[in-house]
């Protein structure tokens, strides 16, 4: 494996190796001195054609903790606006002796396309509504950490499944590791034939929560919605948002996850997001360790 383009291309053993490596990096980033010199002869370009705060910061921090040289590029301030093609843009960056590219792009498959045309290791940091592999890795890594494993666990992914790359990558990662998966949301935000991925479909949030061990709450992606999928945000929140009283009325205590950024009061209320049941901030911490592991393992293949 020379690129990380999607969870779809990984095996269970690949994920196990990434997790074991991430365990060691998690120990490293909790030291007083959080840096190791491993990648000091590697240069990484973070190319973001779409907005991002935590993913970009998390990748950049992971790269710096490994002592790689880092250059950042955002499409907003670049020659892309002047009409340069993707391959030209990336090849120009690569001629400055860059070894690895971390790319986020609004078009599904952009990473796969790039991997066929340029000579560098590619990490997909989100391609449209397709995949976001490092997010799914850190999500399942956090489940493994909290519950001791992923196999046999019941996970429900709640919200905007239709526009979510996090949902698709999570479904692949969870199924690969032997978890049971359901998706839950308004019919309009559930893709047709989603069952063909081997996941259950539930439109009643209370039923879904009573079934699961873990609920992964997704954000409503207003920026990807060209028309209305539900009447009002308030109505969505009443039917598909979770709050303390809903959680307390369940038969058991479940783990709450959210990939961020949170719309507080829409998909999740503050008293839930900040409670002990929520592992939202653990996800962020684990994100750095997971990305260090992915970068380390891919960098070891560069000759």
């Amino acid at each position: 494996m020379n690129h990380l383009l999607g969870i779809k291309y990984l095996t269970e053993q690949d994920i196990e190796l990434i997790f074991e490596t991430a365990d060691h990096f998690k120990e490293v980033i909790n030291r007083a001195i959080k840096k190791v010199p491993t990648l000091r002869d590697i240069t990484i370009a973070n190319i973001f054609f779409e907005n991002s705060t935590r993913t970009k910061l998390s990748f950049e921090l992971a790269e710096k903790r490994l002592s790689a040289d880092v250059i950042n590029f955002s499409a907003g301030q670049s020659s892309v606006k002047k009409g340069e093609t993707l391959i030209d843009t990336v090849n120009n960056i690569l001629s400055m002796k860059v070894d690895m590219v971390v790319m986020r792009h609004p078009n599904p498959g952009a990473g796969i396309f790039l991997s066929r045309h340029v000579k560098a290791a590619i990490i997909n940091a989100g391609d449209g509504a397709h995949e976001h592999p490092t997010q799914a890795l850190l999500d399942t890594f956090s489940i493994r950490e909290r519950l001791g494993g992923v196999a046999g666990k019941k996970v429900v992914i709640v919200g905007d499944i239709l526009h979510s790359r996090v949902a698709l990558s999570n479904i692949f990662a969870l199924k690969l590791q032997g978890a049971e998966v359901k998706v839950c949301g308004p019919r309009t935000l559930l893709p047709k034939h989603i069952e063909s991925l081997g996941v259950g479909v539930e439109t009643n949030l209370r039923k879904a929560l009573n079934w699961c061990d873990v609920a992964n709450m997704l954000r409503i992606q207003n920026e990807r919605m060209e028309f209305s999928y539900f009447p009002t945000t308030r109505e969505y929140s009443q039917q598909y948002g979770i709050n303390r009283s809903l959680l307390e009325s369940l038969d058991k205590e479940i783990v709450i996850m959210h990939p961020g950024p949170i719309n507080r009061g829409v998909e999740i209320t503050s008293d839930v997001a900040d409670s002990d049941q929520s592992i939202i901030l653990d996800q962020v911490e684990n994100g750095v360790a997971i990305r260090m592991a992915v970068i380390y393992l891919l960098a070891s293949k560069i000759k």
């Binding site: 060691h24 120990e27 490293v28 393992l297």
Partner: protein, 179 residues
């Protein structure tokens, strides 16, 4: 491939006791000293020495840790295989302490070079010493020498020294293997 026994269980036991006594001579009550086994193979030696010191010489509360050097090695991307890490377990500060690094075989010295860098992530030690069971003479790539050595061995580059431990490999024995 041929192999011959370099040291038997009995000989290893005598060496371990001598090394423990040498440590004792210099560090007495170990109040300021920490022992660090280098992963993956140095931890058995470190555990064994700690056991002898605490059980036979009544040294109490020896600080013992294990250090993984994978991310500090200088041969990343130079071999065919991806270097896989082991666990680092150092639940004390080494700031101002006398550190004894412990590894089974000293060969090129590159592992020890990496360990010297890695240990700095845990503070600035007062001094660092090196203890090794087997010292392969004339094969160093770096100016590194042990403070305590079990046995000095002359081995050519094609030969390999393999240290087996009862708790991991079923028996205590050291082989010289000709590949």
């Amino acid at each position: 491939m041929s192999q011959k026994v370099l040291l038997t269980a009995k000989e290893i036991d005598i060496l371990l006791h001598r090394l423990a006594c040498q440590l004792l001579e210099r560090h007495l009550d170990f109040s300021d000293t920490v022992l660090i086994g280098i992963q993956p193979r140095g931890i058995y030696l470190a555990n064994r020495l700690t056991k002898i010191l605490s059980e036979e010489y009544q040294v109490k509360d020896i600080a013992l840790g294990s250090l993984d050097i994978t991310f500090f090695r200088d041969d990343f991307r130079r071999g065919e295989k991806t270097l896989e890490a082991s666990t680092t377990e150092i639940d004390f500060l080494v700031e101002g302490k006398r550190v004894v690094l412990i590894d089974d075989v000293l060969y090129t010295g590159r592992s020890i070079r990496a360990a010297l860098t890695a240990i700095q992530s845990f503070g600035r030690p007062k001094e660092i010493e090196l203890l090794t069971l087997i010292d392969r003479r004339f094969s160093r790539h770096l100016p590194i020498q042990p403070n305590y050595r079990g046995r000095q061995v002359d081995a050519i580059n094609e030969e390999k020294v393999k240290v087996l431990w009862k708790e991991n490999d079923g028996k205590d024995v050291i082989y010289l293997i000709n590949t």
